[in-house]
């Protein structure tokens, strides 16, 4: 702090805050995010320290056909980094207890319900027909994520077999990013309201997931989540949103959205 001579108090207070922070003066907020999931006849607690990581795992597991509860979080501000491990263990226990209390029974009921389903070919046929209707390989590449989501949804409900699920995913081309180390991602989905589909887009996946979960909870029909990566140095997200929404429109086109409705009607009947 010897070089602080001449600084105004507004600036100097910031310099002092910097020094204090280095010594842990303000403490550190540790937070853990988690949800319960049932996949391949196994129930698991999934946790992550970063919400982005949690949201990504959440979406991946849905695409794999997992039954999931919403994710929740708990945090605590502590003063010593050494206390992190102990804090995290306690937060994990708290998350499990809370999830079990809030969603445990509903999850068990759904597991029982979906286990009893008899697989028929209707869902597979709907997905297959849509797949076959996509002619160009380029179109297929952008529609991959949207199909994965629906396949996972059908698998979760016991409406398509593991074999058919694997088969469908095997047909989908792999997508790889060549954007380098620093990327940003926009995500979105469609939701049905007032007799029409609307798009929701955001550059932070957890916000997209939370919005989707909330809309589903409120009874709205939604598509799956679609994402696209951009170079980090490209336009700011609030300017990219318009461009991404156009992309979303090509992935979640009328044909796809009518398939979502068709499947939903089937789910309702099945339920």
């Amino acid at each position: 702090m010897e070089n602080a001579g001449g600084y105004h108090r507004d600036i100097f207070s910031g310099m002092v805050a910097t020094e204090l922070a280095k010594n842990g003066y303000f403490g550190e907020e540790y937070r853990l995010y988690g949800f319960l999931c049932w996949l391949n006849n196994e129930k698991k607690l999934i946790t992550a320290e970063k919400i982005e990581e949690c949201a990504k795992i959440y979406v991946d597991l849905i695409e794999q056909g997992a039954l999931v509860t919403p994710y929740i979080n708990y945090g605590e501000r502590v003063n010593k980094p050494e206390k992190k491990e102990k804090t995290m263990i306690a937060l994990k226990e708290k998350i499990y207890d809370s999830l079990d209390e809030k969603y445990g029974k509903e999850l068990e009921d759904n597991i029982t319900k979906y286990k009893q389903k008899v697989i028929n070919s209707t869902a597979s046929n709907i997905l297959r027909d849509y797949y076959l209707s996509i002619e160009a390989a380029s179109a297929m590449r952008v529609k991959v994520q949207a199909l994965k989501w629906l396949a996972g949804h059908c698998k979760k409900r016991g409406l398509i077999s593991q074999k058919n699920y694997n088969c469908l995913l095997g047909l989908l081309p792999k997508t790889e990013s060549d954007l380098g180390e620093y990327i940003k991602q926009l995500s979105g989905f469609a939701w049905y309201t007032d007799n029409r589909w609307k798009y929701y887009t955001n550059a932070f996946l957890p916000t997209v997931v939370e919005k989707l979960v909330q809309l589903q909870k409120d009874g709205y029909l939604t598509s799956g989540i679609v994402s696209k990566e951009y170079n980090l140095n490209s336009k700011p997200a609030y300017e990219l949103k318009v461009e991404f929404q156009e992309y979303l429109g090509t992935v979640l086109d009328d044909e796809y959205l009518s398939m979502v409705q068709k499947l939903d009607e089937m789910f309702l009947k099945e339920d």
């Binding site: 702090m1 303000f26 919400i51 003063n79 620093y182 957890p206």
Partner: protein
């Protein structure tokens, strides 16, 4: 039942009523004009501020409805209870002894956002999941104290230079053309011993009592000798370091990409001079050099940034080395001058802010949510001062961009996270005021005062643009309060050498013999107080402590003499004449018990509270909230209320006090009053259906 469901407090640090009124009447602040016409305010737009007119104390008053003597945050620094010449860091919510309104609203189920409020906001003091807090550890700008890892740079490139040089701010006095005298003459942040004690406390427990005592670890000793005109109270913000780069412009060589044959090149340095970034100067279709592209290396296809005209390029990502590792940062760039023949370039690059930096955001995910959707946190600039080019071309427009980003972020939180209540602060006006307001009254060797006066007006027009970003909320049933902690005046006499921004004030107190310094063998004064001869010290902005036996470790004043010594000090201050102008320097001096009149009694202030005389105070701080200055400026804070539940009364007759804001909001939202609130709801601006409700 009528009530205000959604409340936005737009806090603009330093915004004052006289300048606002002038510019509103001149049609230069159309959004503010509309709010005044629709809402309620005094004709002069003023509010009576709490005292001292210092940022953390006043923002805490606005948030608690309590006076500084009650909430205990009495300056940027609080007094170290163990040592009269030592101060402790004050922007710490754990020091606040009064309940904060945002804790009340959050705990009442309202999603509440506290945005960079420099008074008792950090760390968050409620565990409510409805509370969202952004920084607040310093007044400058979000993340300033934590993200800034490479200082800003002034770049000159010329064909005339013989060699390319990086001149670090550490090695040379790159302090701006108008640097004023150093005012902090000795400063010490206490070291290892304290740190060990701090660690020991942490190891024992995290209990509340110990946490409250943790502030004692942040001890600062600083002596203000008042050597120049500055007093540490405001004049010295233009003395700011930056790295300087001098670079040779030459024919391009060794580029691995195709570049125009007539391009020229030079280099800049980032990361404290450790990393070189090649730049190209490019011609336009008319054959004039008008573009500079900055590359990460000569192998890269794409530049980091392409600069043309006088636009500031924002959100420029680059790597900086921190602790031996490459860290992703974001910066701003701007061309200040580019010779049409490419022979000269002058440029500015902002500080580099670390992108991965969520420690001052609670809960942490809101940081990433905001930067991903609204853009990166804008770097804070300290360049400006009497250099009109820096102030006009860098400082002012950077603040404008900062505010627009902030508006985007707050609106995003409202729309996407369903925020119901916002307590927000921007330091734009205050920071610019400390940088150049002073030069809006002609000083020798500086540009014409009218140029700075025009810049003051532009700052207010920018503030109006910022306010305009929230007008749409009125159509959605929001209630909006425009307010500030204090105003900013232009002093028109020499600043009194009594009171200090960041430590012990030696000027007048030493002249009067109340504070005595130790001397070396040759009789030269040492920066150390001679406690055996010192009867009193003036420390921080407005406080004098008696060196009292039994209370202070080296006390020499007997408690039975305390009252008489206080009287003698007060007498001496009233009769003291500033030798430069032969005038009295204080407006008032009060004993602690009498300072209850100002809300400045109690253990966190001083034995004597002083208010310096009008005209002899910096932009704000050591004087009364009612002072006015040159160019129609004033120290008073502003108050305008508009929206749901507010009556239309643009000529409010009652006095609006700073302590009234929190209870007014509480009453309008029908949440309980903050526990230690001393103000009262502004009944005269609240619609009848609400007042009727709470009277019943």
């Amino acid at each position: 039942m009528a009530k205000a469901d959604k409340v936005l407090v737009l806090g603009l640090d330093g915004m004052e009523p006289l300048t606002t009124r002038r510019l509103v009447d001149a049609g230069k602040m159309p959004n503010t004009k509309k709010l005044i016409e629709m809402g309620a305010a005094k004709k002069g737009l003023e509010m009576l501020g709490a005292m001292p007119t210092i940022t953390p104390a006043q923002w805490t008053t606005l948030a608690t409805g309590a006076y500084p003597g009650t909430h205990g945050v009495t300056d940027f620094w609080n007094q170290d209870p163990d040592s009269l010449d030592t101060i402790i860091y004050g922007l710490d919510s754990r020091l606040c002894q009064s309940e904060l309104l945002w804790n009340v609203t959050a705990e009442a189920g309202k999603k509440t956002l506290v945005w960079h409020w420099p008074g008792s906001s950090w760390p968050p003091t409620s565990g409510s999941e409805n509370l969202y807090v952004v920084d607040g550890t310093q007044p400058a700008s979000p993340n300033y104290s934590i993200a800034n890892i490479d200082i800003e740079k002034y770049i000159e490139a010329s064909k005339g230079f013989k060699e390319t040089k990086f001149i670090s701010h550490i090695e040379a006095d790159n302090l701006g053309d108008s640097a004023t005298d150093c005012v902090i003459d000795k400063l010490e942040l206490e070291g290892e011993g304290e740190k060990n004690e701090f660690d020991r406390l942490n190891e024992i427990s995290d209990n509340k009592e110990l946490q409250l005592n943790r502030y004692k670890m942040a001890k600062i000793k600083n002596f203000d000798f008042h050597l120049g005109e500055g007093t540490g109270l405001g004049m010295d913000l233009d003395k700011i370091p930056y790295d300087k780069i001098q670079s040779v412009i030459s024919e391009p060589s060794s580029w691995k990409i195709d570049i125009p044959t007539d391009a020229l090149e030079f280099s800049i340095f980032v990361s404290g001079g450790k990393l070189r970034r090649p730049c190209l100067i490019l011609k336009n279709a008319q054959g004039i050099y008008d573009t500079v592209s900055v590359y990460k290396s000569k192998n890269d296809d794409q530049p980091l940034v392409t600069l043309t005209g006088d636009t500031i390029a924002t959100d420029i990502l680059d790597e900086v080395i921190e602790n031996g590792e490459k860290v992703l940062t974001t910066s701003f760039y701007k061309i200040l001058e580019l010779a049409p023949d490419g022979s000269k370039v002058r440029m500015w690059k902002s500080t580099a802010y670390k992108v991965d930096c969520d420690n001052r955001w609670s809960p942490k995910p809101i940081y990433k949510d905001i930067i991903e959707n609204c853009g990166y946190v804008p770097p804070f600039t300290q360049i400006g001062g009497s250099n009109i080019e820096f102030s006009r071309e860098i400082l002012n427009p950077v603040w404008r961009l900062n505010k627009l980003w902030q508006a985007r972020a707050i609106n995003y939180m409202i729309e996407e996270q369903g925020i119901d209540v916002v307590f927000s602060h921007t330091h734009s006006i205050d920071h610019q005021a400390h940088q150049y307001w002073n030069y809006a009254m002609q000083k020798e060797g500086t540009p014409p005062e009218t140029e700075f006066q025009a810049l003051i007006d532009r700052t207010y027009e920018d503030a109006d643009e910022y306010i305009g970003q929230f007008m749409h909320l009125l159509d959605k049933g929001w209630t909006i309060f425009i307010t500030s902690d204090h105003g900013e005046q232009i002093h028109y006499k020499p600043i009194a050498k009594l009171g200090s921004g960041s430590g012990v004030s030696l000027g007048v107190m030493k002249d009067l013999g109340w504070t005595v310094l130790k001397k070396d063998e040759k009789g030269n004064e040492l920066p150390e107080i001679d406690w055996e001869k010192t009867k009193a010290v003036c420390i921080r902005t407005s406080f004098i402590w008696i060196n009292l036996k039994g209370r202070n470790p080296n006390g020499i004043v007997d408690p039975k003499d305390k009252d008489a010594v206080e009287d003698a000090i007060i007498d001496s201050l009233y009769t003291y004449k500033d030798p430069r102008i032969g005038e009295r320097i204080i407006t008032l001096a009060l004993k602690n018990r009498d300072a209850i009149l100002l809300g400045l009694d109690g253990p966190e202030t001083g034995d004597i509270i002083i208010m310096n005389r009008e005209g002899m105070v910096g932009e704000h701080g050591s004087g009364l909230s009612t002072y006015t200055g040159y160019y129609g400026t004033s120290v008073a804070p502003i108050f305008i209320a508009v929206g749901k539940g507010i009556v239309n009364n643009p000529d409010l007759k009652r006095t609006v006090r700073q302590v009234d804001l929190a209870p007014t909001i509480a009453a309008m939202m029908k949440v309980r009053m903050p526990k230690h609130c001393e103000g009262a709801p502004l009944y005269q601006i609240i619609s009848d259906d609400i007042t009727k409700d709470f009277i019943e």
